[in-house]
């Protein structure tokens, strides 16, 4: 059988490709390469990408709200500020009994007392906060442009103390619990309405990334339990919805036998999935609280809370 001398046609197309088809080939190849490059390169290398088309906290929040509406069609959105007790009737009944005479009542009284004690220099907490610190918890956290960081309430309390020559409080200690419980109590009935300025977007994005990143030996992200598995049982607990996660702090956990803040819970959660907990009110957890609280916009504050 004779091997064909030429591919096809009269001209020897391997060495002398006709100009028109060559042009087509080049153009098409370039087009393929450009498409491939676009898919591969541009988007995903920067840690806090401020790609304007992506940055839309309100769209993020609405998407999350819609998700929970679909996942829990028989539960009012507003009820999710009671966490698992919005979801499980049996647990709710027990919790309501505790709430008739909640353990944190004693702590709120103690907080009121501590809040009024002046610092060594004669000033007090009331001098550091708007409205003397009464009914302001719903404004936290916020992005401080001067300090270029997120300020949470507990962080603000310690900034206040240091400004007036006092030693900072232990974020996981009882005294911080009492003071934040009192401030939370005065904010009951208010609503979250966090506003994120452009300068605060990188912090919001870092918090968002943390929320969705897998960590620990169990390789869970916050979303693994609180979005994908919300409403399911994890051992004997019911997984709550994140849109109610910021409203009820500090919380008296019977397990802790004292009041604890949101960051104590962050640490506990992270350790439960085998990851090392990070610094309470350090930059990473403050950014996470910023993201989480924004997701809670529109929810009513009901702290301090009581939980199992």
């Amino acid at each position: 059988m004779k091997a064909p001398k030429r591919m096809c046609g009269k001209s020897d197309r391997l060495f002398n490709i006709a100009p028109l088809t060559a042009m087509k080939t080049i153009v098409l190849t370039l087009a393929c390469l450009l498409v491939a490059l676009h898919v591969h390169g541009v988007e995903n290398t920067l840690e806090d990408s401020t790609n304007a088309a992506e940055d839309n906290p309100e769209a993020d929040r609405l998407a999350m709200v819609e998700y929970y509406k679909k996942r829990f069609p028989n539960i009012e959105l507003a009820e999710h500020n009671n966490g698992a007790y919005a979801i499980d009737a049996g647990k709710r009944a027990q919790w309501l009994e505790i709430e008739e005479f909640p353990p944190y009542e004693i702590d709120v009284d103690e907080g009121e007392n501590l809040f009024s004690i002046p610092f060594a220099n004669g000033k007090g907490y009331a001098d550091c906060f708007a409205n003397k610190g009464m009914g302001v918890k719903q404004n936290y956290p916020y992005f401080d442009a001067d300090r270029s960081e997120v300020i949470t309430l507990d962080y603000a309390i310690n900034i206040c103390r240091e400004r007036h020559g006092e030693k900072p409080l232990d974020y996981l200690g009882e005294e911080m619990g009492y003071i934040t419980a009192y401030m939370a109590f005065t904010s009951r009935g208010k609503y979250f309405n966090i506003n994120i300025p452009d300068a605060g977007l990188p912090s919001y994005n870092k918090g968002k990334k943390f929320y969705y990143t897998r960590r620990g030996q169990l390789d869970f992200a916050c979303s693994s339990c609180h979005i994908a598995a919300a409403g399911n049982l994890i051992r004997a607990e019911v997984l709550s919805a994140s849109i109610g996660h910021a409203t009820h702090w500090p919380t008296y956990r019977l397990k802790w036998d004292q009041l604890g803040g949101l960051h104590r819970r962050f640490i506990e959660c992270n350790e439960q999935i085998g990851a090392e907990g990070l610094e309470p009110h350090g930059e990473t957890y403050r950014n996470l609280e910023y993201f989480l609280t924004y997701m809670n916009n529109g929810m009513e504050l009901n702290g301090p809370g009581s939980r199992k």
Partner: protein
């Protein structure tokens, strides 16, 4: 004749298109891949265990643990196993020390792999 030329052209272009897209596409992370990555870490560790001493493995694990801490992805298991290995070494239990050292190194490797994978993988979970 001309139609054959066109057909050849189109085949060439199509082949280039296919190769470019396939070559540049990101493989989707499947559970199978994730598991096989875990196996790779185990095999990598197992390969080393024949050659490295317990001390070398622990030093490696501790270095990687500190790296993971820098990335805020450290696992509680790593220091736990390192401590267990050191305790076993003191008690002269070579077998227990080797087991603990392997676990320490494996968890350190896995935590770093998790940190690196986590740079992009989180986007898969975002509620849309």
């Amino acid at each position: 004749m001309n139609s054959k030329a066109i057909a050849f052209d189109m085949t060439l272009v199509f082949a280039m298109l296919v190769l470019t897209v396939v070559g540049c596409s990101e493989p989707t992370r499947s559970v199978v891949e994730a598991h096989s990555e875990g196996e790779m870490t185990t095999r990598a560790t197992a390969r080393l265990s024949g050659v490295e001493s317990v001390e070398e493995m622990l030093n490696d694990a501790e270095m990687k643990y500190r790296e993971a801490q820098q990335l805020e992805h450290a696992w509680k298991a790593t220091p736990k196993h390192v401590q267990a290995a050191r305790k076993a070494l003191q008690a002269n239990d070579q077998k227990a020390a080797m087991t603990a050292a392997k676990r320490a190194l494996h968890s350190a490797n896995a935590s770093l792999a998790q940190a690196m994978r986590g740079e992009d993988e989180w986007r898969n979970h975002v509620v849309k």
